[in-house]
Symmetry: D2
Subunit: 346 residues, 4 copies
């Protein structure tokens, strides 16, 4: 961290600032050139509040050279993290393919979808039991009943379950019955929820907030990790821009940027990014070649009758075709998809 | 709501769609011109899931003519809402002036600030006891101890207390000891939290999310109101844009837009919008003349030593000068500030 | 400028970088702390290409402490610039009030509007002769014929004319017949056009680009000023955000930020910002109290039949009412509006 | 187009609006349900000014069902356009690979780069002769001398030339010596320039504006096409968002959206999107699998000494490796890269 002081800052102020900063357990070196003074701060600067320093009238600018995240930082953990989720892993050579409907609607529906996506190449089942909806008048999910149906689908197919947790109230039920807890975009900075899932050992799928910077996203991962749960997987699902034609703008550059800054796995959700089924293929394929560790794709047995987000779902058949293409691209990239293994074993 | 069908949609599909929509308790009229058919939907369309309809291949476009919010909608509540908060009100002729530090740091500090802002013209005291911080390593607030200190400050000054609730865990403590519960920008779509505060009768200050549209913001108000708590006050605090020079971009147009769409009061927080103390005056004054019902301003007795957000705080003296200007502008607008009354009574 | 080098950068590379930077006429000091080296650059760094330096593998980060604009910079010109435009000025105590229709439609129309806005309190007439339209099939303006009509309106009322130049082709005609040349938002970085108007002495009204940062905007002013024309007035007209309800988001903080960074006058265009007439009043009044040097407001004698942008126009009567309010607010701010003078003289 | 009227609009107003709209050569049908009236507009609505209609107090909302672009619209030109550029084409099975330095710096440099990129797999040479720079103090390009050097490079390698035109002043020189004229992002709505290149027959590479919507982008293509030049190729180069870590956010969804809306070819420029060389590979590969018709990549023989944008350049060797990967991905997608052909012929 470098603190640039305004021209004409006196020795007394420099001494004071130095003292205040050093009280936080770091060391400070003082430099100056003809025009101005500056202070180089060495040590663990992650707890230093730059807002507070910035309030001093002598401070022109503060430059963070170090990233404020530690556990999520690739610098201190150079190799990729591989997260175990149920019997599967995410972050290694094999892509994690998460598929399923936006909402769990009935036992019959979720079991049927689970069987079909497994056959088509998924190795995780998703399905919303608790749904974050913009309107209080929209369907809010089957809640605990939905969780139970997901478990039935898991019992029938062996697929680990991924589903969204919106409230600390249900955390025990999730830890018991879910293989990976999803934190949705709207809750990416629900710090209370992050801390609570951080106290569990259940893997967490952390979606990027609608307008969260990479740094904020990694800081949210850091919240979870700093409580002891290092099993975090990031999910890019599009960011909010000025473009009205698509629901969100898929930020494919997130993949190489996150891979550079962090050792955590990152997957792509092309369904929520574009918000329309015809955009899923391009987003999914881009994710694979950009280096993502997996995909999360909405699949519904009957999109027109889906209880939520029907316009962005693929049918199981469309999903199957996409997986065939995914396999070829993964192979070019030196990776595999679950399909490949299954093809061999069947 | 108008459903525009694609050219060539057959009578059977039209019938099916009509039936499905009517199942949701509305009525549908069918029109057509030379090129295409469309369906006009009449009745309470707030629960209709347009995503689901959009998934049908025959649907070209869906146009919502009605707003999806009801209780927050000015159409069904033409006069302005005036919300009682402690002994004060927000939404009437007198502006609500909320001031205080970002964080409660000590009893001495909060009592001192409370006395000074009251003298300078505030009629509400704010102060963070639970702090949403981007970094888990930053100061997280004094928590329940902070709440207790706020109550001491209220006992000494009579100022009603506004403070942020981040977790449903503390809702009982907040209902007992706080006059207005603040929901922060990052939790604007924490629907679980919204529903819980909706079950109380305590007034809620609902900040706009970092990239929330007006409609989403009003839908979040609707979440609270639909649970029975109609005491909602909206707070514009800047939105996220591409501009790096300021922390957020204060959206002053939010005031006339919200006033048109809703009967709820709206206040302006210029401190968080700009993120720098020199921007507070312009934002606060703009808020008054644009028609806002109040201001929320960070004031600290010693900004350079503030534990958070020091660079955007005013000193009590600066705040006093701002209130003098506010009084003159409010007077031009036919409104009053708490200061005016106090000047008379002292 | 501070160049932060990566850890482990060797003496040879440091020497090379120092030499390269010093070739650009500045001096470089070398500092180091335990972890890394950095180079402080002193002198006129405005021509240094940071992109080029950033390409060197040893460079971690480059921090510009100095702003890259000189002529527009308040540091080198502490007092406010007051620009003479025809018989009027902008930037002094009196606000500049520019009003008129989006498009010049006929001689009768523009003369009528000119008379009515003058009476209501404007001291400049605006009207588009060359129109930037998103669609090639929309009305593109009366072009030179429109310029001639503006001159007639000026002859009848004495109001100086402001109109948009879109092409270097017409620059001579503009210099001859226009008092202030407007550069529109879409051309803010049409550097060819900026240079050409920079070679004239005609005052330039430089609108902010749809997603231009403050710095880019001031750099565009610098383009004009560096060619010799220092008569630049900035115009905030809203920026593009995610919000669909309003055409643009008026960035009222632009006023105090620009006032801090630059000595150039800044005015507010609330008509284009919101894109709807009911938003004009709040934007205009906010501009005045935030410290803007003037307003630009669309006024049409018959908004419903306007050839462009009708939905954001005020009628002359509505404009008159707004000017009465403007006068009161300007008075609180220690400023005057043209109306005030006229009231006295009539 | 559907015009939704406010509740209670009388028969007289409906008649008036109908008449006004029909004056523009379209026909209008009147419908009504219990609550309101609406007007369906049939015919060529591209010239109808919705702003003007919106100004009428009776109009609640206007819904464009038809796109306002015609020549660029896939509806009226279902098959993909294949554009001939010199001896090459863009839009067919073979990807167009445009490579070269940001700026032409010397004859030696551009000839050297041209030879090396051709060998590595490019079939077009790019290089800036006229440079749009944010600062007037930055290097502005070698101008006509640069054009001449590009021609030398073309003579030596046979590669068609792509370079940016910033001013109508040089249009004759460009038509004579350039194979494809680039319109940069900052000039995407420089309508004067669009019209002038529209009067030529030279292919135009139209970059997307920094915050241009898809519709605005296609309308700018329409400007060129409506003047008679149908040889337009679109180039996605990243859009401006809130994210500070990358220069722009590459919008990969632009590819499938544009392919759906238009028959024009679209290519991806990953160099300007990310602004850093380590992001180029992910962007380029995503472009190919998303269905783009080509790539535009900055390659410099000596990035550290590039006169502009050095940090985003690849070296010729890095570019060669990327082309090998591109070939494999193109092959999966059923397309070819120029490299493939050359490998066969050499």
């Amino acid at each position: 961290m470098i603190i640039v002081l305004k021209q004409g800052t006196g020795a007394k102020a420099i001494k004071e600032i130095t003292k205040k900063v050093e009280e936080q357990g770091v060391s400070v070196s003082h430099f100056s050139d003809i025009k101005r003074d500056f202070l180089g701060v060495i040590g663990d600067t992650s707890a230093i509040d730059t807002h507070r320093l910035q309030a001093r009238p002598e401070v022109e600018q503060i430059v963070r050279v170090e990233e404020p995240y530690k556990r999520a930082n690739r610098k201190f953990h150079p190799e990729n993290s591989i997260i175990e989720v149920g019997q599967e892993t995410i972050g290694g050579d094999q892509l994690g393919i998460i598929a399923g409907p936006c909402s769990v609607e009935s036992e019959e529906q979720i079991v049927d979808v689970a069987k079909r996506i497994k056959k088509a190449g998924a190795n995780f089942l998703r399905g919303g039991a608790f749904k974050p909806r913009t309107s209080p008048y929209s369907f809010q999910g089957l809640e605990l009943e939905g969780l139970r149906m997901l478990q039935t689908a898991k019992a029938e197919t062996g697929l680990p379950i991924v589903t969204e947790l919106m409230s600390t109230k249900w955390i025990d039920e999730f830890v018991e019955s879910v293989d990976m807890i999803q934190i949705g975009a709207r809750n990416m900075q629900n710090f209370d929820l992050l801390k609570e899932v951080g106290k569990t050992k259940t893997p967490v799928l952390l979606k990027r907030g609608l307008s969260a910077t990479y740094k904020e996203w990694l800081m949210s991962a850091e919240y979870i990790m700093s409580e002891g749960n290092e099993n975090v997987i990031l999910c890019e699902r599009g960011v909010r821009t000025f473009e009205p034609e698509t629901r969100n703008t898929l930020d494919i550059q997130a993949v190489p940027v996150i891979k550079k800054l962090s050792h955590l796995p990152i997957i792509i959700d092309p369904s929520h990014a574009g918000g329309m089924s015809y955009l899923v293929e391009a987003g999914a394929k881009s994710g694979i070649v950009a280096g993502a560790d997996g995909l999360m794709i909405e699949v519904h047995n009957d999109p027109e009758n889906a209880w939520s987000d029907g316009e962005q779902c693929l049918t199981p058949d469309e999903f199957g075709l996409l997986m065939e293409k995914a396999e070829k691209l993964a192979s070019v990239e030196g990776r595999t998809v679950p399909l490949s293994t299954q093809s061999v074993s069947n």
